[in-house]
């Protein structure tokens, strides 16, 4: 049997508005799960990068993630695992404070690490959710 793989189109922007998007889908459904690409802080309508602080980028990413998950028929409270990549681990508390405002109680499993991020991003968040 061939299992289905379904690509979830981005909510908001028409693909053309995003300019030259990276060769990655925002989210792909496979099996019971929805796999979401690492998100940077962007305006979902225009696709423009929103450079800011770790806190503001986290807030923007999670607002977009909420919208993306709901458009795909999932939601923040169906998220099982989150990976957060930060430009510096010194910023982890700044991320965590904003993060706690978005996720339900009890929250999903999570891993946070510091890494060198592309495009001047301070935060990248990827996740796996129940579809």
């Amino acid at each position: 049997m061939v299992a289905a793989r379904k690509i979830i189109p981005p909510p908001g922007a028409e693909p053309a508005a995003v300019g030259s998007p990276p060769p990655a889908s925002l989210a792909v459904k496979g099996g019971d799960f929805l796999f979401v690409s690492g998100l940077t802080a962007v305006d979902l309508k225009t696709g423009a990068r929103l450079h800011g602080t770790t806190a503001s980028e986290t807030r923007q990413i999670l607002a977009n993630l909420k919208q993306l998950l709901e458009a795909a028929g999932s939601s923040l409270d169906r998220v099982v695992k989150v990976n957060v990549l930060l430009h510096s681990m010194l910023e982890a508390p700044n991320m965590n404070d904003v993060y706690a405002q978005f996720f339900p109680d009890p929250p999903p499993a999570r891993t946070v690490c510091g890494a060198r991020l592309p495009d001047g991003a301070k935060v990248i968040i990827e996740c796996t959710a129940l579809a």
Binding site: F33, F103, P108, A115
Partner: protein, 129 residues
Amino acid sequence: MREVIAAPRPGLDLRRHYGHHQSPAIRAGGLIFCSGMLPIDPETGERRHGTLTSEAHVILGNLKLLLEAAGSSLDRLVQVHALIYDSIEYDVLNRVYRQYVANGPPARTVWAAQIEAGFKIQLDVIAAA
């Protein structure tokens, strides 16, 4: 359905000790997704800094406790991300890691990253429920 796996020992509740907004592990769709495992004393929650080898022993001990509390085990690991502070320690990681995955090791990726509190290693794993 999404099921939260509680900390099997008081020290392993990182939310209580360090305010991390995360559950120790989540069971969903036949898999167990664990939060990034760190070398934390399972009884007291204190950080157990040391060599990569000593930190890995603490982490894998904690992981065993967590997976067994969730009805799984180290033998049921599916995928491991091993984050280490410096890739020069790759061989050191393998030496200690090998002791815990004797029965057919899981898929694994290793890379260098900055880990919280200056730890030398963090394991991010998925196991079969």
